[in-house]
């Protein structure tokens, strides 16, 4: 990773974007020449600017790929543990999986006050999936992007939750579930009544109530997403900055920061899970 430090940092903070560049767009190639596209083409972005110019129809291939890989890993691992489960002396994998499931089960029992068989598996999925995606941060910064660079890919960011699109995708799913269960348990009329008549139970206060309640409803997924993104992105930036220091200083700083992340990574996954359960519990309340 040559070049000056500014380039190094921006390079490591850019996602691999696959999208459509409009017709007539002038691209700058790596060797300095420019090519003008005669028609709209689907291609990998060669720079951050190109990624922005692609507009809405652009996919962060690296985030999508790694989140899918972590999801498949989670499903395969837990299925393997479930299939080889014995009631005798358990093996190590079964022990780990059982303790995680028990932990999530206890948390759901304490926090969720409705009746819904979907919530506990959802909580387990969110916890383990977010934990696995976050734990990709422990892989040293240059290892996987170095391999990808040798394979010809211009950028490669491996932590899907350090991508705001990743975390917003997760929280959007949770938001849709909140709305779905609110309407299912309270009915459309009940839900609308709750939105418009709290905290002031008077018809004249309806616009004010609606404003407050809709704002509160919208901050739920937004804060979920941005909390996870902020934690992961800031951690990633500090890892990249430490990688720029001379090699004899790197151990001194990297070790404490990585150890601090042993706290942060599970904690953020846990908080995402607990808040999801709390919001779903609120959506199931009917008096």
């Amino acid at each position: 990773m040559a070049g000056n430090s500014q380039e190094y940092i921006s390079h490591h903070l850019t996602n691999l974007t696959y999208g459509k560049l409009p017709a007539g767009y002038v691209r700058e190639n790596a060797d300095g020449t420019t090519t003008e596209l005669t028609e709209a083409t689907w291609t990998m972005a060669l720079s951050g600017k190109e990624a922005t110019d692609m507009g809405f129809m652009a996919f962060h291939v690296d985030s999508l790929g790694w989140s899918l890989a972590m999801g498949i890993l989670f499903a395969w691992l837990f299925r393997k543990a479930a299939k080889s489960a014995t009631s005798g002396v358990p093996g190590k994998l079964q022990n780990v999986v059982e303790s995680v499931v028990e932990f999530v089960d206890n948390t759901v029992k304490e926090t969720f006050h409705g009746r819904n068989p979907l919530v506990a598996p959802l909580a387990l999925t969110i916890f383990v999936w977010v934990f696995l995606m976050n734990s990709l941060k422990w892989v040293p910064v240059d290892v996987i992007p170095g391999i990808a660079h040798a394979a010809g890919l211009p950028f490669f960011k491996i932590v899907p939750t350090a991508d705001p699109n990743g975390t917003l995708g997760l929280s959007l799913g949770v938001f849709l579930l909140i709305i779905f269960y609110s309407i299912k348990v309270k009915g459309v009329g009940g839900f609308a009544k709750e939105l418009s008549l709290t905290p002031f139970n008077h018809p004249i206060a309806i616009p004010f109530n609606l404003f407050l309640e809709v704002l509160g409803l919208l901050t739920k997924p937004l804060s979920l997403a941005l909390r996870l993104f902020g934690n992961m992105y800031a951690g990633e930036v500090v890892f990249i900055l430490i990688a720029l220091l001379p090699f004899y200083l790197q151990w001194v700083l990297n070790v404490p920061w990585a150890i601090f992340h042993i706290l942060v990574i599970p904690l953020q996954a846990f908080i995402f899970m607990v808040l999801t359960i709390v919001y779903l519990s609120q959506a199931h309340e009917d008096h």
């Binding site: 921006s10 804060s223 909390r227 902020g230 992105y233 908080i271």
Partner: protein, 78 residues
Amino acid sequence: MELVYIAAAIMIGLGALGTGIGFALLGGKLLEGTARQPELGPQLQTKTFLMAGLLDAVPMIGVGIAMYLIFVVAPAAA
């Protein structure tokens, strides 16, 4: 474009102030509570970490945006 750096500094600084005071209060209450009822120690600790994560949220969002400003917006505008 030095204003971008000052903006980032204000964001991180004030966020750190809020987090510091918040965690201090939280930690103090945890110590008091554990001293009064040691058997509730682990339970209180779990809840403290939960509250710590929630408390961290808005300052972390601020830090994330500030990092983005320093490393992506400032070089692009310079």
